[in-house]
């Protein structure tokens, strides 16, 4: 069967696993050698990803046979979703491997770093191309394990241990949820192979049982835990205890796994209203939480981490509102953006040196902002039904459209400050137009690309969803307004109090730390640890 040629794309992750398991000694030369081998393997993964994309482009969804017993085993499954995700992760993996080559040069443990990086990357790629739930779960657990090893790359760093342990707890809970979902699905359908499973689910559609709702909810819980959603988000803001490329891979590749899970099993999740509502509520809250807590953060990497939490939350919200293709777009775009943001986080001083001018224009006035926001909401409510995006027909489109409009208003309002200038406003309005066109263009293109793979946006599910949509639009509007009021009232007592609560992330992470320390205290590290190599006197070869 020609489809078995698909196994060729497994060569990418396969090579990464080989490099990850190669025996090597802890020397600098071995580190460099392994790093170069990793580059070859990562390049092979990119080639495999491009191959996979071509296959899907010309042949549509493809899959291999399942080697195993009754649908539990090893198989690959390729459709538009996995092809795009495979390309994304392979690409970011290659960039991270290349980046690490110089970045970790001279690091005594580079060889271990590269090996763990390769294994983790391979696990993420397998999560994406897996053709059945068993392989998916195995790769899923492998991702957590690999990441855990990367997080404690400097085992003497107590803060790294603390973060890794928080992550460990969240991951294990998530994996239990995944295994639970797997068990339910297997009991119901007798297979874990995607193709059979998805067909069976579609056939089952009219009578969704409580068991299937439970499976969908467990899948949602797994995804939320993987993507650092409230309230177990704390580990992700503390994983800067390991080299920057890990952060890039984590924020651009691994946290997406949660979103990918929802999309992969969207055929199941979309049928369960409680699951979707959970996604929308937790995602929406996390998005607002992350984007507000981000505001007072003072270090670049922690800011980026909160941004990831928020973006993942927004992506989950999109899923919850049934806008699955928008969520996929969000994953792709966010990964690329965040990978770059982390890898270039050393440039923040350059940015600071460039932002010299005290703004000649001052701040936009909040009253103007408030009026704009209300105008936007009004326009959205009145005009969008004319384009078919009515509140009841396509609530997701309606809510997200309002958020887009809020963003554009923010963009334009920021250019109309106390001393409005035609050039600035003109340029920004043009930019806003460009943003709007590309936004809707990209959404359209993505919906087209994933047609048949991801469920289409559904109509209103019920009053609870209506409440969610209204709450989303209202709270996003409120936050936008809040941010423009902020500079003027910051010194009042209640704003001071709010600042204290917000800057501490509403104390959620502190409580998590306290809890982890109480039940899992750090063993004291030997004080004699010598962090840096002492074989100092060797002269370089001329």
């Amino acid at each position: 069967m020609t489809n078995n040629l698909l196994w060729l794309i497994a060569a990418g992750p396969g090579l990464l696993i080989v490099v990850g398991l190669l025996p090597a000694r802890r020397t600098l030369a071995a580190g460099r050698r392994t790093s170069l081998l990793a580059r070859i393997a990562a390049s092979a993964s990119v080639a495999a990803a491009l191959g996979a994309a071509l296959v899907v482009l010309f042949a549509g969804t493809a899959r291999t046979e399942c080697y195993g017993v009754s649908g539990i085993g090893v198989s690959l499954y390729l459709d538009a979703l996995s092809a795009m995700m495979f390309c994304l992760v392979a690409f970011i993996g290659l960039i991270v491997v290349i980046f690490s080559h110089h970045y970790l040069d001279g690091e005594p443990g580079q060889v271990y770093f590269v090996r763990r990086l390769c294994l983790t990357l391979a696990a993420v790629l397998l999560v994406i191309v897996a053709g059945n739930l068993a392989l998916f779960a195995a790769a899923w657990i492998g991702t957590s394990m690999g990441l855990h090893r990367l997080l404690i790359f400097y085992p003497e760093r107590q803060a790294a241990l603390l973060a890794a342990r928080k992550k460990f707890v969240a991951s294990r809970i998530g994996e239990l949820c995944l295994l639970g979902a797997m068990a339910i699905l297997y009991r119901r359908f007798g297979t874990l192979d995607y193709a059979e499973l998805f067909t069976a689910v579609r056939a089952w559609q009219p009578a969704f049982t409580p068991g299937l709702h439970a499976a969908a909810l467990l899948l949602v819980a797994t995804a939320l835990l993987k993507s650092a959603q409230l309230p177990l988000h704390g580990w992700i803001i503390e994983v800067m205890e390991t080299p920057t490329p890990v952060s890039a891979l984590l924020h651009a590749g691994i946290v997406n796994a949660g979103g990918f899970l929802i999309l992969r099993f969207s055929g199941i999740v979309a049928l369960s209203v409680p699951a979707l509502d959970t996604l929308a509520v937790v995602g929406g809250l996390t998005a607002l939480f992350g984007s507000v807590v981000l505001l007072p953060q003072t270090s670049i990497k922690v800011s980026l981490a909160y941004s990831t939490i928020a973006q993942m939350g927004f992506m989950m919200l999109e899923c919850g509102l049934g806008a699955f293709s928008a969520a996929l777009l969000h994953i792709l775009a966010h990964s690329l953006y965040k990978a770059h943001a982390f890898l270039s986080s050393g440039s923040v001083i350059d940015i600071a040196r460039a932002s010299w001018t005290p703004s000649p224009g001052g701040q936009p006035h909040p009253a103007r902002m408030a009026i704009s926001i209300m105008a936007v909401l009004f326009v959205t409510a009145v005009i969008s039904p004319l384009f078919g995006a009515s509140l009841t027909e396509q609530p997701g489109v309606f809510a997200l459209g309002a958020v887009v409009a809020l963003g554009l208003i923010h963009l334009i309002a920021n250019s109309i400050d106390e001393r409005p200038n035609g050039y600035v406003i003109g340029r920004t309005v043009a930019l806003a137009l460009l943003v709007a066109i590309s936004y809707f263009g990209l959404q359209f293109a993505m919906e087209h690309l994933t047609a048949g793979v991801l469920p289409r946006t559904a109509s209103l599910r019920g009053p609870f969803e209506l409440a969610i949509v209204v709450a989303t639009v209202a709270s996003f509007g409120a936050v936008t307004l809040f941010q423009s009021i902020l500079p003027r009232h910051a010194s009042q007592a209640r704003w001071q109090a709010l600042y204290a609560h917000v800057s501490n992330g509403f104390y959620l992470n502190t409580l998590a730390n306290r809890w982890v320390l109480a039940f899992w205290p750090n063993p004291p590290q030997p004080n004699t640890f010598q962090p840096y190599p002492l074989n100092l006197m060797k002269k370089p070869k001329p």
């Binding site: 980046f99 107590q158 803060a159 003072t298 990978a339 958020v403 200038n421 501490n504 502190t510 006197m537």
Partner: protein, 998 residues
């Protein structure tokens, strides 16, 4: 003080009755002492090297080592394994150890012989981090009781909290929502914030907010209250506060920088005291958590132990640190021995530079090229001299004598482009060459508008709601950005210096020297200022005659990408900026015909055919860019063309040399690879900066020309014969030499203890507040250099050596500067650097001891290093210092004993005529050592330190008592400097070290 007011109800006092508690005046003194021990930290936007031991300059190097280890468990010396390795690989030889041993102060408990020392070295010192500090803070005690687990003890949490709060308070642009209370003083703002902040309580520190609120509003009062409640004994308060500051050393250093900046402009600033109050109150809040008798008892005992602090200047109290110190001295001695031999091997030029072919005095070399004294210039200068022997190179601080504030287009203020010891005297604005006023306004306006549009876009990217839309619309574009950044085709962000300007404008921007008023401030230079400054600069460069046709003034800067510490590679003399503007300003002013006329009136005749040309040495790629080349007069066109060829050859040569340390030597594509490094966003070692620096020369270039100093020496040109009144010498020793020492000690500190004095591992760096870096996600702000700046992983690229300063000037003149300037005296007398003098022929003739005393070095040092003969006879004959009859006998004796030991060391690297006198002195040196070691053994037997707690003057008498008769009689001719009497008789703890480390 009113205890009822200060003490929250129910807070029990830990120990001590009121008599032991210090008064407010004493407390203020202790606060000043503790704060004074913190060195400033410059922000990353213009990061400059700082001596991390700045606050200890007033005490000797060894006293500082002892104190840091005792108070804060911070090591200032390499781990023993390093010295063992240096011995095993022959970098330190046994004679170096012997020499170090023989110059150890008599009151130290040191091993009896070099062999014994080497044996003792085999044992690693567990006390390094294990021994508890003599003055424990609450945090220290909690850590000890938690067996070092700083998470469980909550001290790690405390530091994270203070650090996070400081970042919010000092933030310069990272956060979108700024700390609301940041307008108030730190302590006040913190107190206000803590009314609402429940984070400590969420972590289990009960009653935190109430504890803070109950303490006084005034920061000193608050510290006082805590000190009193904790019962910190009077004698230990300064150390207690110092150790408390060490926990948050990075932010303390940044606060110290703010204080420094204020003081530079004559303003008082108590930022650091306020920060200290925050830290002390935090410790107090932790103290309140622990009411169990076990903790309280331990605390009481700790405070009792703290009541009698040891004397840090007697390193002999601690034989382990004495061994480490001696090995460091031996290590430095080994370097000096080799360097002196190399200098001596150079053919001695008696004549002034033979560059002028004709007899005409006015005719100089064809080209003169002045570079910054930076050690990286040494490599380039040597390369240039090699490819083009008729070029004369000059070394001068890279700001070329122009302390300017350089205001870039569109800015309102600019950075101070001068050494951080100075304040800018002139404001220079950036302008666009050959642009009309209208065009300039257009360019400026466009840049500002682009900035505002960019700001709106940035706000769109970062704001709470719009960021989601930003990601969905712009995110995919980062695919191509990632590829082009990875390939080095683009920078991750735009260059801040040229952002918002069009390419054709960028090529035309440069400093504008015309005097005019901009924004209410006088900018540029008027006619008088130009002439005065030009004269000062030329005299300071010792460049007053024999001008070449083309004189290059080459500043330096680096090109790196994605590197938070980028400015650490730029010019320190330009305050962490590139030297481009300064070099161009200097060249433009010196080309001004009216300046030439003015200079002629003041005795400096620059020929009409001389043209000054500004340039920039890119230290990452070793290319030289020449500025304003279109203004070069036609008569120099050919010379300029030839010059460019020479510069290109020199650059290639320079790169080939540097390629060795970059690990790419011998490859065909060295140039491509070096260029790629300067653009690589993942490169953690784009260049080696000033790593390796070890020496500073102030003298004519002919004295070092032809010697391969391996990019390890600062070279400052100086001709004392043309320095009337030695004002230039004074300038060199108070500015460039001090700055070089700062750089040297920063590298030293970052090497010996990167955790304490360096910024740790670059791959974990997390820029905070756009001020500095954290290592990882939290913890204290990091100071100093990243580990990657001093090591390539396989070996140390920087060797931890204190700076060796060589000055070609009469000893009286050097002594004059030392006597006049306390900071120079501290550096030299307290052994923060080693000072040598050169004679007119470029021979190293004397080595500075202390207090104006010099020890002569023998004439030829090239061979027969085995010689142990002392140069005692020469000491007797040549000693600089006049006899002082006022000195008491025992002081003279003790001083003599040291001289004998010292000179025995100096003889190690020299050969001298064998004489009866030297034979006698060799005996005397030996006998002194054995006497001292006998004392060591005695004290070891009785298990009582030799002179614990004995005031210094009595220590001296012990010393003289153990010295043998022969020592005394042989050296009675040697006299001591008059200043010594005041210095050595003061038995003070902090500064009164009469005995130098080496």
């Amino acid at each position: 003080m009113n205890l009822a007011r200060a003490t929250p109800s129910g807070a029990p006092r830990a120990a001590a009755d009121a008599a032991e508690v210090c008064t407010r005046a004493e407390l203020e003194e202790a606060i000043a002492a503790a704060c004074g021990r913190i060195a400033p930290l410059w922000p990353l936007k213009h990061f400059v090297a700082v001596n991390p031991f700045l606050g200890f300059a007033g005490q000797s190097f060894h006293a500082a080592c002892t104190r840091m280890r005792r108070v804060a468990r911070i090591d200032m010396l390499m781990p023993r394994a390093f010295y063992r390795q240096a011995l095993a690989t022959g970098i330190i030889e046994e004679r170096d150890v012997e020499a170090a041993l023989s110059r150890a102060p008599r009151d130290w408990r040191v091993p009896v012989s070099a062999n014994a020392l080497i044996v003792a070295l085999r044992e690693d010192v567990p006390i390094r981090t294990g021994r508890s500090a003599v003055v424990a803070t609450v945090a220290e005690l909690l850590d000890t009781r938690a067996e070092g687990d700083r998470q469980v003890s909550r001290t790690a949490f405390m530091i994270d909290e203070i650090s996070k709060w400081c970042a919010a308070y000092f933030d310069e642009g990272q956060s979108v929502w700024r700390l609301p209370t940041r307008g108030a003083s730190i302590y006040g703002a913190w107190r206000a914030s803590m009314r609402y902040d429940r984070n400590p309580e969420m972590m289990g520190i009960a009653g935190f907010r109430a504890a803070v609120a109950a303490l006084p509003e005034d920061c000193v009062e608050a510290i006082w209250a805590v000190i009193e409640i904790l019962g910190v004994p009077r004698a230990a308060v300064a150390d207690y506060l110092h150790q408390a500051l060490c926990d948050i050393g990075g932010w303390a250093a940044y606060a110290r920088y703010l204080v420094w900046q204020s003081e530079l402009y004559g303003k008082a600033d108590d930022t650091l005291v306020q920060l200290l109050a925050v830290r002390v109150v935090w410790g107090y809040a932790l103290f309140l958590q622990h009411r169990d008798p076990g903790f309280r008892d331990a605390w009481r005992r700790a405070m009792q132990a703290a009541a009698t602090p040891p004397q840090d200047d007697q390193a002999g109290d601690d034989p382990d640190i004495a061994i480490d110190l001696l090995m460091q001295v031996a290590y430095e001695g080994a370097y000096q021995r080799r360097l002196l031999a190399e200098l001596a091997a150079r053919p001695v030029e008696q004549a002034p530079p033979a560059a002028s072919p004709g007899a005409d005095d006015a005719a100089g070399p064809t080209v003169q090229a002045a570079f910054c004294i930076d050690v990286r210039s040494e490599v380039y200068r040597r390369a240039l001299e090699a490819v083009c022997p008729e070029v004369e190179t000059i070394g001068f601080a890279g700001f070329f004598g122009y302390p300017i504030e350089y205001v870039q287009i569109g800015h309102l203020t600019g950075g101070a482009q001068c050494p951080v010891l100075l304040t800018p005297k002139f404001v220079v604005c950036e302008g666009v060459g050959k642009a009309s006023a209208e065009e300039e306004t257009l360019i400026l306006g466009l840049r500002q508008l682009r900035r505002r549009a960019a700001r709106a876009w940035k706000s769109f990217k970062l704001s709470a709601v719009s960021s989601f839309i930003y990601v969905e619309t712009a995110g995919l574009l980062f695919a191509s950005k990632i590829v082009s950044d990875s390939a080095g085709l683009t920078r991750p962000v735009k260059d801040p210096n040229t952002d918002g300007l069009d390419a054709d404008v960028i090529a035309r921007v440069g400093p504008r020297i015309e005097a005019r008023t901009v924004g209410g401030r006088a900018t540029g230079f008027d006619a008088a200022q130009r002439i005065t400054q030009a004269e000062a600069v030329l005299r300071a460069m010792s460049l007053t005659r024999q001008f070449a046709g083309l004189v290059l003034l080459i500043g330096h800067g680096s090109t790196t990408a994605n590197n938070p510490h980028a400015s650490s590679f730029d010019c320190g003399a330009c305050g962490g900026h590139t030297g481009e503007a300064n070099a161009r300003v200097a060249a433009a002013i010196l080309n001004d015909p009216e300046v030439r006329i003015g200079l002629r009136e003041r005795g400096i005749d620059i020929p009409a055919g001389t043209w000054f040309l500004g340039g920039l040495h890119n230290t990452t790629t070793d290319e030289i860019e020449l500025f304003d080349a279109d203004a070069i007069p036609a008569e120099h066109a050919d010379a300029a063309l030839r010059l460019r060829t020479s510069l290109a050859q020199a650059s290639a040569r320079c790169r080939a040399e540097r390629a060795v340390n970059l690990g790419i030597a011998g490859r065909a594509d060295v140039e491509t690879r070096i260029r790629a490094r300067s653009r690589d966003w993942s490169e953690v070692r784009p260049e080696w900066g000033l790593a390796g620096n070890a020496a500073f020369f102030a003298g004519p270039r002919r004295m070092t020309r032809g010697v391969d100093l391996k990019g390890r020496a600062f070279l400052h040109d100086y001709t004392w014969q043309s320095d009337a009144g030695f004002s230039v010498l004074e300038l060199i020793m108070t500015a460039p030499m001090v700055v070089a020492s700062w750089i040297n000690l920063q590298y030293y500190g970052s090497t010996v203890n990167n955790r304490a004095f360096g910024s740790g591992n670059k791959v974990l760096h997390n820029v905070t507040g756009t001020i500095g870096v954290l290592e990882g996600n939290a913890g204290d702000l990091k100071v100093g250099l990243p580990w990657q700046s001093i090591s390539d992983g396989a070996r140390l690229v920087h060797e931890p050596l204190r700076l060796n300063v060589f000055i070609a000037a009469p000893l009286e003149a050097i002594n004059g500067v030392i006597a006049k300037h306390e900071n120079v005296r501290h550096l030299a007398d307290n052994r923060w650097l080693h000072l040598f003098a050169l004679d007119d022929a470029g021979r190293v003739t004397h080595r500075y001891r202390r207090e104006g005393q010099w020890e002569p070095l023998p004439a030829s040092a090239a061979e027969s290093m085995e010689s142990k003969e002392s140069t005692e006879a020469m000491v007797a004959e040549d000693t600089m210092v006049s006899e002082d009859a006022m000195l008491s006998e025992d002081l003279m004796v003790s001083e003599d004993a040291m001289v004998s030991a010292d000179s025995a060391v100096s003889a190690v690297s020299t050969v001298s005529a064998v004489s009866a006198v030297s034979a006698v002195s060799a005996v005397s040196a030996d006998s002194t050592v054995s006497a001292a070691s006998a004392a060591f053994e005695d004290s070891a037997d009785s298990a009582v330190p030799l002179d614990l707690g004995i005031p210094l003057d009595s220590a001296v008498s012990v010393d003289s008592a153990v010295a043998t008769d022969s020592t005394v009689s042989t050296h009675s001719t040697v006299s001591t400097h008059s200043t010594m009497s005041t210095h050595s008789t003061g038995p003070t703890d902090s500064t009164g070290s009469t005995v130098s480390a080496d």
